[in-house]
Symmetry: C2
Subunit: 158 residues, 2 copies
């Protein structure tokens, strides 16, 4: 972990008030399969960091280079997590509570992995974003990778 600057910490307060309900809050009653819970934690962290970049792009959070770089780098790292421990067999939608994972995740594992690669690349492109406009310019690609993966590999709401 990088040591974070005081400036970043102060600006970071903004991140704390972004009104993104965490996944954990909204899916609290179920006892989840640990792999499913870990995937949800990964998605929660992805959503959190995208929320920061989105807030900067919209002008809801002041642009700060360190904060933007942190969010983008964390997104890249989260996208590059190894799937072996996360997308374990038998945890598709319908087989276990809370899962929206389509069977195609396993039957087309190469295609699925490519979607995470796309997210990693779109995230990396934002690491050097020099101002809010640059963040905004990269948000389309970033959001597109989320959408593309969800359309192909995520089932309907439970």
């Amino acid at each position: 972990m990088n040591i974070f600057s005081r400036k970043t910490i102060v600006l970071g307060i903004c991140a704390g008030v972004i009104a993104t309900a965490s996944w954990a809050d909204s899916h609290s009653a179920e006892k989840l399969n640990p792999a499913v819970a870990a995937r949800h934690a990964q998605m929660q962290m992805i959503g959190y960091n995208i929320g920061i970049l989105g807030a900067v792009a919209k002008g809801e959070m002041e642009y700060d280079a360190a904060m933007v770089a942190s969010a983008a780098a964390n997104l890249q790292a989260l996208a590059k997590l190894d799937g072996a421990t996360l997308w374990v067999a038998g945890t598709e939608q319908g087989a276990t509570a809370g899962s929206r994972a389509k069977p195609e995740i396993w039957s087309d594992s190469a295609g699925f992995a490519a979607k995470f690669d796309d997210l990693a690349m779109a995230s990396a492109a934002l690491i050097g974003a020099a101002d809010a406009a640059a963040v905004g310019a990269g948000m389309g690609d970033l959001g597109g990778t989320c959408k593309a993966c969800h359309e192909s590999y995520r089932g309907p709401k439970n």
Copy 2:
């Protein structure tokens, strides 16, 4: 994300039945600050991957090189996440619900970052672990890094 082998997926079923209650399950009622929720998601994922390595070490899960490498690599990546977006000011224990973050995280940010570096190194050392005994041999160092950080930077239960 690496493409995962069929063998890994099949063995991965074991990971799905490890009886590790997720953090999300046990702290469900509160509406958390998003930064706090993201930290909890990080810790949940760390705990999940350590649980896999621990199960292998104890013989509760069959040793599989890809699964062990995945868990260890993911631990390293999770430990290396940039703290700027996670440990935001104003989210210490007492200031916001669910937080156990001691003020020392901010007053001694270099020391705190070093603890994550220790976790990353102990995790990396397990990536090549060649059998269950080797995993077990590395678990002491790994667990020690958790304990050392929690003792210094985590407050009592809320």
